[in-house]
Symmetry: C5
Subunit: 90 residues, 5 copies
Amino acid sequence: MIIGRVIGNVVSSRKYDSLQGYKLLLIRPQYSDKSEVIVAADVMGAGVGQQVIVSFGESNQHALTKNAPIDALVVGIVDNEPIIDLSEQP
Amino acid sequence: MIIGRVIGNVVSSRKYDSLQGYKLLLIRPQYSDKSEVIVAADVMGAGVGQQVIVSFGESNQHALTKNAPIDALVVGIVDNEPIIDLSEQP
Amino acid sequence: MIIGRVIGNVVSSRKYDSLQGYKLLLIRPQYSDKSEVIVAADVMGAGVGQQVIVSFGESNQHALTKNAPIDALVVGIVDNEPIIDLSEQP
Amino acid sequence: MIIGRVIGNVVSSRKYDSLQGYKLLLIRPQYSDKSEVIVAADVMGAGVGQQVIVSFGESNQHALTKNAPIDALVVGIVDNEPIIDLSEQP
Amino acid sequence: MIIGRVIGNVVSSRKYDSLQGYKLLLIRPQYSDKSEVIVAADVMGAGVGQQVIVSFGESNQHALTKNAPIDALVVGIVDNEPIIDLSEQP
């Protein structure tokens, strides 16, 4: 999983029926040297600015009420933002 | 999932039978520092220039009428293009 | 999926039995800023120099006659090579 | 799989029920030129500073007592830290 | 799949039972601009210095005698090392 910041959502009127009912959040992965935006399905009601935990791949099907072509899912909302200095050698 | 721009399609006469009936779109992932082109199957009729939502991996099988070796699938067409500034710290 | 160029093949006498019968092609992903070589199983008879479509992951099992530890599979041979300029903004 | 260093954990009160009971560790992948932090579920009791082996994807479901949207799992704690010089050509 | 060089192995006394019986090899992916070390399970007896073919993801379960949280598996030992010049345009 990764930790990401919700920066907005994307609306798609023409989409697979099985995606109906999911908010599609725009999320920027954090604590990473990659710079990208992913789209994750959400039913937890995460809001813009919140840090969330996103899980990827087929494992998500185990959390959906019915199967859907969702490869990224918000599985938790972070309580306290971890302070991490990526420049430190692990 | 990711958001990508349709830039064309690729034709493959010699392909697995189970890929018949799918248009194979050439898509450039957006809002990412990676520079690449992916091939995604599409039955939604997305056109060149449109922004689409692409899902990856085995989860896509849940949206196909019959199983096929498809690891990237257009699952939605974006209504309004999100304005995102990747240089901003999330 | 991705588009890649076949640059050769690799021979492995000591391999899992379920890999018998597959040619293991060396493929360079194209239209990407990544520089790498992947190994993909092939039963379509793609030759060196040809452009092929490669699919990744568990979805490939739906195209195999029997299950095998194959995570990359040639699923089509490209008819006409797309002309793509990665330096253009999508 | 990868080897990573445990650098802390993240707390998420609002998460999927099936994630209850798992500690969510913050892990920095080692022996890699990528700089990122991943979140992995753990039931082995790995502590901060320890090196662990992390497995990704659907395969993890085979190690869980019940299915859950977990795409990264601590599957072992390293006995002795390997000494590896990435600048050496393999 | 990828081709990698075996550079050692890692010992983990505290690991999932289902990982017992597998040697956990340290492998450096070759023919790639990424610099990293992966851990792959091996039952083929690959030795340090040898080139191996590694497969990733759920597909590996089809080669295991019983399911296990293994996302990278040595599926073959390379006979003759391919000579590849990554600086050449594919």
